[in-house]
């Protein structure tokens, strides 16, 4: 078991990055989905630590440092967006089923 990192963002000499997402704030799904979206520019390894998800992110090509910073920013924002999507989906799950049932039925579910 590797030692737990505590710094939220570490840039390694080989160009890879380690980003920490506190478990109290982010879900594993949000971290995974955001990573998937960036697979065209990076490869990812996600580890679970006690209090955080540790994302090891390796750009697939050489990226200038400024572009790399932008990439990290977009990635972190995407994790936030994914988290929001999850919350919206879970809050609206029941009403979504109701709307779909209504749409595919011939009668009104909301009357009678």
């Amino acid at each position: 078991m590797t030692k737990e990192s505590t710094t939220p963002l570490v840039k390694n000499d080989d160009g890879s990055l380690i980003i920490l997402f506190p478990k109290s704030v982010y879900s594993l799904d949000a971290v995974k989905k955001a990573s998937y979206k960036f697979t065209d520019s990076c490869s990812f390894l996600i580890n679970e630590q006690n209090t955080a998800y540790e994302v090891l992110c390796k750009p697939t090509a050489d990226i200038p440092s400024k572009a790399l910073d932008e990439l990290v920013n977009s990635f972190c924002n995407e994790v936030l967006d994914q988290d929001l999507r999850e919350r919206i989906a879970s809050e609206t799950h029941a009403v979504r089923s109701l709307i779909l049932a209504q749409a595919f039925s011939k009668t009104s579910l909301l009357e009678g």
Partner: protein
């Protein structure tokens, strides 16, 4: 009501939970630019809002009665005590969007022959052969194909003749038109015929026949003479001249509304957006379909090549669209067809039967192909892929398989089930999901997988970029907005 009380919470549940303020309705979102997001509800209505507002909505921090609150409520992104009909309305809109699915296969492509007088490098299927026996459809196959066609539940049936060069086997075109028309005397469907042809074998006799049966002609016009002839080589290097002569005859004898044209985009086309559009305007067309580069026939086996080609094509598309909008501003009504299809999905309650913008994919549901030899394919692209040695999307053969066998085959149901955008990774929570679709054949050809990783997908990149571009035009450029709105059917 049984269904509501067992599987779903009833309306009281939703009303009670409103006491604390407003509730969210299901919606997706996607970033538009650094400060704005596009949010889309379950029925495909969209709004552009700031990032702050998006997070405020979801965190229940909106002030009831504020302008953004009222807009979100009226567009069905949130509901409160006053919006009891919101769910019914949303359900109705959703149903309207999905309605085209129930119509099932409308377009049936009959490949009358693979023989062709052209040798276009982008075409995978045509044969330069005199051997009619080897590459022509026989009456036996045609009869089976007609039977198959009329088993479709769709009221609107379109039979389109394809090749090779379809008119090189005009006898078969005639046979199918006459037989299908006879058959339709009892079927009473809305039956329509289209001949896709390069027009070079066209004779006056053929045109008389087209006039009698009200047949539409769809030809190929790739752009100005040099580009067209370069893309479409034939002996005598006179493809363009033949199309011009043919188009004139079709217009004279059948009427201008019976003629359509499609262009194929090649690498040489990419720098010629304006001349291509000018050619279409000059030839009297009122629209053009700026089609993407086809992955079939190009050595496009690597993901990065796919991305590179898509970038180049997007440049071509944007340049073309800008130019077309400019022409409209100067008073010429001229449409870019792909843009119009997407705008109609974005701005009207209606769905589309355009194969690539459907969920699940429109393969076999919207269009099906009967090859000259009786093989049945899910789309024209599937047939191209089969010619390149990959028969993954061959659904069966007319001589051996039944309608039920083909329509319920794993070869069809597998991809259909896998290509529902609501369940595909990345698409499932994409803000453009309602307007997009899936193209299993494309993803299979480029990534070896029918779903494909959308982070690498040229199909995804194309649609995402176009949709962002169109929404920005609608939001930020009032003049362009007026033009784009004029392309939306009401």
């Amino acid at each position: 009501m049984a269904l509501a009380s067992t599987k779903f919470k009833d309306l009281d549940f939703f009303n009670q939970s409103l006491e604390s303020g407003y509730k969210l309705l299901p919606f997706n979102f996607i970033k538009l630019d650094d400060s704005r997001y596009v949010i889309t509800n379950i029925a495909g209505e969209y709004l552009v809002i700031t990032k702050e507002d998006l997070y405020a909505v979801a965190n229940k921090q909106l002030c009831p009665g504020s302008p953004v609150y009222n807009t979100l409520k009226s567009k069905h992104f949130i509901y409160d005590d006053d919006s009891s009909v919101a769910l019914e309305l949303l359900a109705l809109k959703y149903r309207t969007k999905m309605a085209p699915l129930a119509n099932f296969t409308g377009l049936h492509l009959f490949v009358t022959t693979l023989r062709c007088d052209h040798s276009c490098p982008y075409c995978q299927v045509s044969r330069q052969s005199e051997d009619k026996a080897a590459f022509d459809m026989t009456p036996e196959i045609a009869d089976k194909a007609i039977d198959f066609t009329f088993q479709s539940p769709s009221n609107e049936i379109k039979i389109e003749f394809q090749g090779g060069e379809s008119l090189l086997n005009f006898e078969m075109v005639k046979y199918v038109v006459e037989e299908a028309t006879k058959r339709n005397q009892t079927e009473n469907r809305d039956l329509q015929f289209v001949i896709a042809t390069n027009l070079s074998p066209l004779t006056d006799g053929m045109l008389d026949f087209c006039l009698k049966y009200d047949i539409l002609i769809s030809t190929s016009l790739d752009g100005p003479e040099e580009l067209h002839n370069g893309n479409r080589p034939r002996p005598g290097k006179d493809s363009y001249e033949k199309v011009m002569t043919g188009m004139q005859k079709v217009r004279e004898l059948l009427g201008p509304d019976k003629l359509g044209a499609l262009m194929t985009t090649t690498k040489d086309s990419l720098t010629q957006a304006k001349p291509i559009i000018d050619e279409y305007v000059e030839q009297g067309f009122s629209s053009i379909f700026l089609r993407p580069l086809s992955p079939y026939g190009f050595a496009i086996k690597t993901k990065s090549f796919d991305a590179y080609q898509t970038e180049e094509w997007l440049k071509f598309y944007k340049e073309g669209l800008d130019y077309i909008i400019e022409l409209n501003k100067q008073g010429l009504y001229f449409i870019e067809d792909y843009t119009a299809l997407i705008l109609n999905k974005m701005l009207t309650p209606f769905g589309t039967t355009y194969v690539d913008l459907q969920s699940p994919s429109g393969m076999a549901i919207s269009a099906i192909v009967f090859n000259y030899d009786g093989d049945i394919y899910a789309s024209d692209e599937s047939r191209m892929l089969a010619e390149m040695g990959e028969k993954r999307f061959r659904l069966g053969n007319l001589l051996q398989d039944t309608y039920e066998g083909v329509m319920l085959s794993d070869a069809l149901l597998g991809p259909l089930e896998a290509t529902i955008t609501e369940s595909m990774p990345m698409c499932n929570d994409c803000g453009f999901q309602n307007y997009c679709g899936s193209d299993p054949v494309y993803h299979y050809a480029t990534q070896g997988d029918i779903i494909g990783n959308k982070a690498f997908s040229g199909f995804c990149k194309k649609n995402m970029t176009i949709m962002r571009h169109l929404i920005k035009l609608l939001e930020d450029d009032p003049e362009a907005r007026d033009v784009l709105l004029s392309w939306v059917r009401v």
